[in-house]
């Protein structure tokens, strides 16, 4: 190979810059989560990211490569960050540590490292935690009860995160969990939603939920910022949202007492985080335009199906993982048409 090849110029994007922009886009929603859930949330976020970085350094050591450049690309930090946002805000420290090290060591490096992983590491960790520690992973807080405005001091944070002292009075069920529980007792939606569902405050993040999944508006804003910066495309988020909204709207129209309205689906759980930040993960999503539509739609529809009929109240993580596993297949089946050729690969002929 010739030593110096064209092009002799390069675009502005680099892996580090991409990761940095994604983290910047996550910041508003993260800050909102901190405000809403107070000091324990901050501690949890720190522990998750720190564990992710340590695991990355550990893997670099195993591979006998310098850890510095590997940590500098920001991908491990971003994985930790995304995982932190999807954890219950007052989860104990070991949940964070176990999840982050699973994400980095098993879901990422066991597959071959950056760029090789089939599954989104943060979501793989979330699902692993959910299955292994269902109690800790579904302990939600009532909005406002525990946030900065409630005046909880930093010391309490340590007792929450490190000793697991969550006052019972502060816990609350998430909307999806609540609805599922009520439905199993045969209570109609119109009844169970009263007092729980208020689109306006949900949009602003005033609900029980994961650390960084509550502020739907801020997440969408951050996502659109990434679209504008051309870090992510609009296809996957748009398709994801459509995939949730279309079946939800249809079902809700048919049986409003049985199926949640589409807006409730959008503003609860991890849909916004999933659509803009999780499903758009480069490595584990398809790289063809058509493939990205299919992938996004699949994530959305599966999320709705799992929420509606599955054993777990929330379906984003499962849906993303399922579609991740289909990514290589989707990519192969949706290669773009090559210039001057027909879809079947044969050359065009003169008119």
């Amino acid at each position: 190979m010739s030593p110096i090849s064209s092009p002799h110029a390069h675009g502005a994007h680099s892996v580090g810059r991409v990761m940095l922009l994604v983290m910047l886009a996550l910041s508003p929603a993260t800050a909102a989560g901190f405000w809403q859930f107070g000091w324990p949330a901050i501690t949890l976020w720190c522990v998750t990211i720190l564990s992710a970085l340590l695991s990355e350094a550990f893997c670099a050591r195993l591979a006998e490569r310098p850890a510095g450049p590997m940590l500098a690309d920001g991908s491990a930090m971003l994985t930790g960050w995304l995982l932190a946002l999807s954890l219950p805000p007052w989860a104990p420290w070991w949940i964070a540590a176990a999840g982050a090290s699973f994400a980095i060591i098993v879901a990422k490096h066991a597959f071959g490292g950056l760029g090789q992983n089939l599954f989104n590491p943060a979501m793989a960790a979330r699902v692993m935690l959910l299955i292994s520690f269902p109690v800790e992973m579904t302990q939600w807080l009532a909005p406002n009860a525990a946030g900065m405005s409630a005046g909880l001091d930093p010391m309490t944070a340590f007792s929450v995160t490190f000793a697991g002292n969550v006052p019972d009075a502060m816990t609350s069920a998430s909307l999806l969990g609540h609805v599922k529980a009520e439905a199993s007792r045969g209570i109609a939606l119109s009844q169970s939603l009263t007092g729980y569902w208020d689109p306006f405050s949900f949009g602003l993040g005033q609900r029980a939920g994961s650390l960084g999944e509550t502020s739907a508006l801020l997440l969408a804003t951050g996502g659109l910022f990434l679209v504008l910066k051309r870090v992510i495309g609009l296809r996957i988020p748009a398709a994801f949202i459509l995939g949730v909204v279309l079946p939800a709207a249809f079902a809700h129209l048919l049986a409003p007492d049985q199926y949640l309205p589409p807006l409730a689906h959008l503003l609860t759980g991890g849909v916004m985080l999933g659509a803009f930040f999780i499903a758009t993960d480069y490595v584990s999503s398809p790289s063809t335009p058509l493939g990205q539509w299919i992938f996004g739609l699949g994530c959305g529809v599966l999320t709705w199906v799992i929420r509606t009929w599955g054993a777990y109240p929330e379906g984003v993580a499962f849906a993303v993982l399922l579609m991740n596993s289909a990514t290589p297949l989707i990519d192969r089946a949706t290669r773009p048409r090559i210039f001057g050729r027909r879809r079947n690969g044969h050359s065009m002929t003169a008119p």
């Binding site: 064209s6 002799h8 110029a9 892996v15 001057g340 050359s347």
Partner: protein, 511 residues
Amino acid sequence: MNTPAPLPTHSFLRRLLQRWGAHPEARKHPAADTDVTVLPLPPRLILPLAQHIGAPARPLVQAGQYVLRGELIAEAQGAISAPLHAPTSGTIIGIADVPVPHASGLAGPAILLETDGRDEALPAEHADPFSLEPAEIARRVAAAGVVGMGGATFPSAVKLALGQKNPIPTLILNGGECEPYLSCDDRLMRERAPEVIDGARIILRAIGGERALIGVESNKPQAIAALRAAADGIADVDIVEVPSRYPMGSEKQLISWLTGREIPAEGRSADIGVMVQNVGTAAAIHRAIRFGEPLTRRIITVAGGAIRTPRNLEVRIGTPLSTLVAFCGGTTEPVARWVMGGPMMGLSIHSLDIPVIKGSGGLLGLVEHELAALPEPGPCIRCAACVGACPIGLMPLEMAALIKNGDLKASVEIGLKDCISCGTCSFVCPSQIPLVQYFNHAKGELAAQGRNRMKQDAIKELVDARESRMEREAREKAEAAERRKAERARAKAAAAAKASAAVQTNEETTA
């Protein structure tokens, strides 16, 4: 064949749907802002025999011979080739192997000419193109040694000859100049628009064309205005603004943008009734036909962060690059890389002793920060930037992965041979993976394999021929032996018959 109707080129929908390409920083200023300066004659010119695609020219001069400007010094050899003319008057020093601008970095044969400063010209034949037969135009273009000046250096007359068999309705002049830094075509269009327009009309006549479209990127408004003014009142020439985007100046992309048609993957532009020529080529054809002037000079952009006064120079073919750099005030910073051509597809060169050749549009002295930012390529993060940017619809990440694994066959199956080596994918890759380098390497490998196979086929043919010859000979020998044996047998039989007959007759007679 009918004339393709141009689609509305500013259609919002098309811009939305056709999203290939990249937007490298143009960096065309300040070179694009000043008039073309004529470079004084250098003391010596280096004229490589292979300045074009095809067979190299065959020298016709000897050391010590005095030549005039425009005199033929090397003739075309074979169907695809181009002759070479003396760019000024002077004495031939000899023919030697010198460093030439070529990817291999190897030396090639060149005629060396010592200039005498008088610049005396051979008397030239002026002509009115519209009283010449199309075939005669093609002949004169061939004799003038005109080749594609946008960098492709394909002999222009060979292209024109295509139009003699079947008329080609649409001519597209490529004024895209989508490579960053370069502005030689921009300056040409601004300063010599009438030459370009006249060249377009001459080509139209030569190929039996009906209309010419000149596509110019939107970042060259003055060029567009100058061309429009020059084409005022000329019905068959239209100037069309195309978006500034790399690689808009690629033949396939420009045709598709202007006419909505795609060159078949296994065909050529003439199949869809289109021919593309560079604007510089059109101007050269204009001069070759109108004034009988062979191609011996061109405009070249000298630019890059290290050059003191970037500008466009009109230089004689064969001028050493070092002369150009010196004329531009030398360098102000250490040069990290010298590039011949544009930064996207240009050639990295290691010596400024290399001469300007017919296809050289630029010489760039780039400083460190203008080059790639990362010291080393990272792993592919499957960001799909390369997929979205590829103007051909390929999946560079997959092709590169397959080539890396040594699976050339699979990479051909997903389109390696359709890759135009434009480098857009490498440019946008956030991990700075040298994708196009993989592709060029693989294509070279395939070509070598092809050559090998041909060689083996040839050997096999020889062996087969020998075998069948020997077989034939053996057969013939055997047959001959058979024949002789048969003959002998016949003779014997005849003799026996005769004898028995004689006996009979004897018997009869005796009876």
